[in-house]
Structures are given as structure tokens and as C-alpha cells.
Symmetry: C2
């Protein structure tokens, strides 16, 4: 099979930032890409009938409605691939509303990246192998890293990688905006560590607040992780307020130990 000449791709939500990003990447490889979105001449249903693979790249709040609309129209020869930032519930929605092949995918990067080189995509062959294999090979040919991971494992890990990371960045940003310290002097005096932290804040701030809200709200482990992080921060604050060097060093050494384990992987 020569994929480029025979496979027609469709992106529902193709006018959004991630939708446009993948359209550009697919087209650069010679694929025909149809797009449906609010205001496009093509409807979601027409796109679903016309394409071999249908990507759904819509806000998670609209996802179920879109899958219910187009899922029943897709045949077993077609593939349905989603780009949701959470995977367990979204994967179940897809399986419930279609009999076609299903791939659960999460591009682990935002539309600010140049191309797929060294970018990660989490994947799960939820139903069928043909379109999973096609997509995984496409990604690998573009030098992306694919990580095959069950949807519930994915969501658990994202409770740290996204929920807690975003929470601590948001809190830092809000503190910097409200602490009454001169931003210019903060930047001038930033250590190498804090220069990097400010860079992460800037990248974070460039993202979509509504998407990041749902990532924060809908992760099944999110609430638990947030409260664990809060408890740890309260404990550390109490240690620091008391100038309790013994316990401070104990926690620090736990983190040194963790850091060594991270380097082993």
C-alpha cells in the first residue's frame, strides 16, 4: 500500500491550533487532508463518510458529542483517532459509538513546536491494528517518539506530568504577579535554575486556558494529586518556618535519591 496516494485523512476540529498543526504536517508528506470545523463548507458527517482515517481534534468538552455524531457513520475499514489530553473516558466513548478501528492518541506537546522531530505521542491500539500501525509508522518516520500505553496508565501519569506541573507553574506565576517584587529585578537576578523555571512559565502561559482547565479538572487522579502536593507543601513550609534543619535535609536527601533514580532510566 502506498499510503500517500491512497489514504485520505480528515480532521474534525481542523481549524483549531492542533488541528492546523497536524494538517500542515500531513500535507507536507503529500497526504490529502479534509477539514471540518465550525464554519467550514464540509460537515463532520460528510468528512466522516469521505475519509479513510478521521482524526478528532476538538476541545474535550465537545468530544463526546462529535463522536456520537460521526461514530455510527464509520465502517470497520475506517479508523478513528482522537487527540484528547485524557484517554480513559475518551477511549470508552469512542468504543461505545463506533465499530471502526480506534486509536487513542495524545500528542505530548503543543502547537508551538516546529515539527514532530523528538516529540512524543502516547498511543494505544484500542481496536484493530491496521490504522494503529499506519499512524505509528508515520510518526516514527517523522522522528517522533511513540509511547504505547494503556489509557488508564496514561491518565494516572498525567496527574503529575500535567496536573501538578501546571498547578505549580500557575501558582508561581500568580505569586510573581502579586508579590510586589520588581519583575525586571527578578529576571536580572534569576539563577540558572530560575531562568529555566521562567522559561517554563512562559511556555505554559502560551497554551489554551480552557484546555488546561479540563486537563486539571477531568483527570481521574487530579484531585488526589493536588491535595497530596498541597499536603507536602504545607509540611515543607512548617519545616522551614521552624528552621528544622534535620527534617529539611531528610526531605532534600529523599529528592536527591529520586534524582539518582531518574538518571538511571
Amino acid at each position: 500500500m502506498s499510503p500517500v496516494s491512497k489514504v485520505r485523512l480528515g480532521i474534525i476540529g481542523g481549524a483549531g491550533r492542533m488541528g492546523r498543526w497536524f494538517k500542515r504536517i500531513f500535507e507536507a508528506e503529500g497526504y490529502e487532508v479534509l477539514v471540518a470545523d465550525k464554519g467550514t463548507p464540509l460537515s463532520n458527517q460528510d468528512l466522516a463518510k469521505a475519509c479513510d482515517v478521521v482524526f478528532v481534534s476538538v476541545p474535550m468538552s465537545a468530544f463526546e458529542e462529535v463522536v456520537k455524531e460521526i461514530g455510527p457513520l464509520l465502517t470497520e475499514k475506517q479508523g478513528l483517532i482522537d487527540f484528547c489530553s485524557l484517554k480513559k473516558e475518551q477511549n470508552e466513548i469512542m468504543l461505545a459509538h463506533t465499530t471502526c478501528e480506534v486509536v487513542a492518541a495524545h500528542p505530548l506537546f503543543g502547537p508551538g513546536e516546529k515539527d514532530l522531530t523528538n516529540q512524543k505521542v502516547a498511543l494505544w491500539p484500542s481496536r484493530g491494528k491496521k490504522w494503529f500501525n499506519w499512524f505509528e509508522e508515520f510518526l516514527k518516520a517523522q522522528k517522533a517518539q511513540t509511547i504505547v500505553v494503556p489509557p488508564d496508565d496514561h491518565d494516572r501519569i498525567m496527574a503529575i506530568v500535567q496536573v501538578i506541573n501546571h498547578l505549580m507553574l500557575l501558582a508561581l506565576g500568580k505569586l510573581m504577579g502579586s508579590a510586589g517584587l520588581e519583575l525586571e529585578l527578578i529576571q536580572k537576578l534569576a539563577t540558572p535554575s530560575f531562568v529555566r523555571q521562567l522559561d517554563i512559565v512562559a511556555r505554559f502561559a502560551d497554551q489554551d486556558p480552557y484546555l488546561y482547565g479540563l486537563i486539571q479538572f477531568d483527570n481521574p487522579l487530579g484531585e488526589e494529586m493536588r491535595h497530596k502536593y498541597l499536603d507536602i507543601l504545607e509540611e515543607l513550609t512548617a519545616i522551614a518556618d521552624k528552621k528544622d534543619m534535620e527534617n529539611f535535609v531528610k526531605v532534600f536527601k529523599e529528592v536527591q535519591n529520586l534524582s539518582h533514580k531518574l538518571k538511571l532510566h
Copy 2:
């Protein structure tokens, strides 16, 4: 004045990581560098009498004792320069115990860096100009960035740059070590943002726990900033638990606004 041929430098605490680091840098430029530390043949007092400039690079817990010991031995022609991570109280200690020239310095980096290129050093000409000018010129010739900042401004800014940055990294590390999630999978699924965050954690973990304890405990604004950060984190956790999109987006946009200001500087 040809500084290299005539100026003799001394480092008290010269066997510690930062002391050795600066000894290497000075010697590479041809300076004679004497070192005193626990177990060296040379005593602090002998070093103080023999050198044109005395650097004090000891743990902050030992700083006052060292300055009291050597300060009275130094004459007005000599210079005293400290490397403490906090500056206000430490500067006052130096001024109180010597009549020599005094420079308050804080190298804003750790001994893991290769050389001074692009590294920042906060400086304040606390008493006299001659040794301040000499040190600033040395640093600039080494391509370091010098930031002249009053000691109390320095300490206020470090309440975010170091106290809060370290606190949030420590909490993240402790959470990762205790959340029951597979570290290897966290790394595999790390987004570009979280890859950077893990890199910061690894750099952080490489530092001296006791130094970082004092940075946390002794900053005059530290307690206030820690509690502000904790309050913000509690507020954000409540917003996320309630899935309160309106207020989540409001805070997110505040951080976007802050990020734009950061880019202007």
C-alpha cells in the same frame, strides 16, 4: 596596576565546592591564591594578614564567627568579599567587624557550572571602590554578568528566585517519590515542559542540602513568601476541585499577562 602580578588573593573556606571553584578560576588567570580551611596548614588569621583581598566562602552558619575572627586584622588597604547567598545581615556583620573595604557578592550559580561565562554575580560596593572595581572588572573580563544591587533588595528578590523555586521543586520531588507512580513511565510520558521541570529538579538535587536549608530559613521575606505561595496553591486547588472554569481562566490570563511583561524586559 597589573593585578595579576601584584594582587594576592585568599579564600577562607577554600576547600569547599565554591571555594575550590573560584580558586580554579582565579589561578587560570595567573593569580596567586592562598587557601584556609579546616585542616589546612594556613590559618584564617595568617591568610588575612598575607592577602590583598580575602574572600569568605564558608557556610552561612559559620560566617559571623569567621568575620569576627579576621575582620579586625584587615587594614583599610585590604578588601573583604563574601559569597553568602543572603546579603543584608551578612553585609552588616562585615561592616561591623572591620574597617577594610567591603564588597557584598552573591554568585548566582552553583559549582556545577563550567566557568563564569554568562553567569550572574550580584554585587554591592558596601565600603570603598578600589576592590569593588577590581572584582567587577575581573568578572566582566570573564564574561560574567554583574548586577549591582543593594543587599536588602537582593534578599527580597531571592525570596522568589531561591526560596519559592526551591520549595516548589522540593515538593515536586517528594511527591514524585511518594505518589506510587512508575518513575520510568513518568519520564517516558514527560511533555517538553515537564522534561525541563525534571531537569531543574536534577540540578536542584545536586546542591548542598545545608546551604539550601539556610537559604530557605534565613531569608527575611522567606516565611511571608512561602505562606503566600501556599495560599495561592490552596486557592487554585479549590478552583480545580470545583471545576470552576471561570476563575481558572481568570488566573491563567493573569499569568499570561505576567508572561508578556517578562518578555518585554
